[in-house]
């Protein structure tokens, strides 16, 4: 076991935990538990908003999984990953002020509140809740595995003990902290990530003997590694471009991102978040995947992609510094897990329990149930993550694609097209999810693209045509 790295890693985690705890104490003074626990009382400033979006999105898939794939595929995967710079500005601009105004008018706290107020349909609420719970389970399992892998590689513990430690840490703090605790610590985590990836990249470049040297080494190992086409030349322009939809513009429809686009204080924080978010997301994505690609000549022969990040950090940095730097991806994973947990629990408690089962539940009772559901969910995901696949990124990308196919048109068209109605939305959700599942099972790369692209197009056709057909019935 590497004591210095372990100590600094858990030291940093402890600090984050402490901040979550302090924030949760402050939370107890306000009156609406649901509003505060799940939305932080709509009070986020620009910096925190930018960081929380970065941290939520820059999750295990990009911190642990992404660099792992870049390690194998070379610069082509870095090219694919910088498509994510678009999420920094696109999501906020598209949902933008209209979303902020409408969600305040509707008093919406979750994305399901918004859909409910826009379409007035029980079926939509149920479909949406079901998709969130089902897909976010895959996404959460991916984060759990990432956290476990990281602690495993760093401390030398076996995977299961590592996973157990990780889950306990996260559950403790999300259960008591709620949304404000999560976003507040996201601010710190985002900053650690930004600086951490920069330090690590520089250290890798120095260890590899300079950029030119690394590129030459890569070229000698396999010339394809420095082309845009991946290790075996299989990353076609069409396939890579389809990631603009999956991890670029489609991110607008992810419930965990959209909920953040309704939690800011005012237009000024919104503007600041746009400017900070773009540069922070861009720099982090570029650095992190470059670290993965550059790690190959420095530390060849790593089999499990998800271990590349922690192992390279231990290789090129002094152990105590590696511990602090790796607190960044760990923090990112924690914050993603936190937001996903909160989202799933808010779906179950707020959208289903309060809406349909017990509308008159007291504040105290809601609170007890929220905490209980959140903890229970964490335990179930833990059980899923016990037997992990080698590359968590595919699990995460699967979940992201599914959520996008379901939510993108009901949200976007609901905002900008006044003729869109509930029949269009229902059709679009059903077509989106069905076609996505069918493509994934039988034809995973339709026309050379990721399955999300044709599913989203079919969902759009469904939305528009059903809205027109049912025009007179409304």
């Amino acid at each position: 076991m590497n004591w210095a790295a372990t100590m600094t890693l858990f030291g940093s985690l402890g600090l984050i935990f402490l901040i979550g705890f302090i924030a949760s104490r402050r939370e107890r003074t306000s009156h609406s538990f649901v509003f505060d626990y799940y939305l932080g009382g709509r009070s986020l400033g620009g910096f925190v908003l930018a960081m929380t979006m970065t941290a939520t999105y820059g999750s295990a898939s990009s911190f642990i999984g992404g660099p792992g794939v870049a390690y194998h595929e070379g610069l082509g995967w870095v090219l694919l990953s910088v498509t994510q710079v678009a999420t920094g500005y696109f999501t906020l601009m598209i949902l933008g002020k209209k979303f902020a105004i409408l969600t305040q008018k509707y008093q919406a706290v979750t994305i399901i509140d918004f859909l409910k107020a826009r379409y007035h349909s029980t079926l939509i609420v149920l479909l949406a809740s079901f998709s969130i719970v089902a897909f976010l389970f895959s996404a959460m399992a991916a984060q759990w595995i990432g956290g476990g892998r990281l602690i495993e590689s760093l401390t030398g513990l076996n995977y299961h003990s590592a996973l157990f430690i990780f889950v306990l840490t996260v559950l403790g703090y999300v259960t008591f902290g709620g949304f404000r605790a999560v976003t507040l610590t996201d601010g710190i985590q985002g900053s650690i990530m930004f600086i951490g990836t920069l330090v690590l990249l520089i250290a890798v470049i120095i260890a590899g003997g300079g950029i030119s040297n690394i590129i030459t080494d890569l070229q000698e190992a396999n010339p394809n590694l420095i082309t845009p086409f991946g290790e075996n030349g299989t990353l076609t322009p069409t396939y890579v471009s389809s990631f603009w939809v999956l991890v670029g513009v489609g991110v607008v429809a992810l419930p965990q991102i959209a909920v953040r686009a309704m939690s800011y204080k005012n237009a000024k924080s919104f503007h600041r978040a746009l400017m900070i978010g773009t540069i922070v997301v861009g720099v982090i994505m570029l650095n992190m995947h470059l670290i993965g690609a550059f790690a190959r000549p420095v530390l060849p022969g790593i089999e499990i992609g998800d271990k590349v990040m922690p192992l390279i950090a231990l290789e090129v940095l002094p152990p105590w510094l590696a511990g602090i730097i790796l607190a960044a991806p760990l923090a990112a994973i924690m914050s993603t897990v936190d937001s996903l947990l909160l989202l799933v629990s808010s779906t179950i408690v707020k959208d289903i329990y309060i809406n349909y089962i017990n509308p008159k539940a007291s504040n105290k009772k809601v609170k007890r149930i929220s905490v209980g559901v959140t903890a229970l969910l964490g335990i179930i995901v833990f059980l899923i993550a016990v037997n992990p696949p080698d590359f968590i990124i595919w699990l995460n990308l699967f979940a992201i694609g599914g959520l996008e196919a379901v939510f993108i048109w009901p949200i976007i068209m609901g905002l900008y097209w006044h003729k869109g109605n509930k029949y269009g939305a229902i059709a679009s959700m059903l077509v989106g999810i069905t076609s996505y599942m069918l493509f994934q099972s039988f034809y995973p790369e339709p026309f050379g693209m990721h399955a999300v692209v044709p599913s989203i197009l079919l969902a759009l056709v469904a939305y528009v045509s059903f809205s027109f057909i049912t025009q007179n019935r409304v």
């Binding site: 090219l79 601009m93 105004i101 305040q104 420095i226 237009a267 503007h271 540069i279 861009g282 006044h418």
Partner: protein, 95 residues
């Protein structure tokens, strides 16, 4: 329809729509920049690659410079075209 009337009356939605269109414009520009440099310069044979600060030219322009250009563009556009509006209706009426 009540909703329609509301949309026509509210000047804030005009602002919001315009800013969403700017978002689409930016992402299209971003995509073209990224695609043109990556596959325009990167499709050559590796032996013909040129290098900037040690990185293959296609990668430098498409990814490194691309991120910088987008950050600067977003900064400039938000500063000069984005308008401050109030999100809260009651806040609006109080003033």
């Amino acid at each position: 329809m009540n909703k329609n009337k509301c949309q026509h009356k509210d000047y804030r939605f005009k602002v919001a729509n315009r800013e969403a269109l700017i978002g689409i414009g930016l992402v299209l520009f971003n995509f073209i920049w990224w695609f043109a440099f990556a596959y325009g310069l990167g499709s050559k044979d590796v032996s013909e690659y040129t290098y900037i600060i040690g990185l293959p030219a296609w990668f430098f322009y498409s990814c490194v410079l691309g991120v910088i250009v987008m950050s600067v563009l977003v900064f400039a556009i938000v500063k000069s075209f984005f308008v401050h509006v109030n999100f809260n209706h009651e806040e609006l009426e109080d003033k």
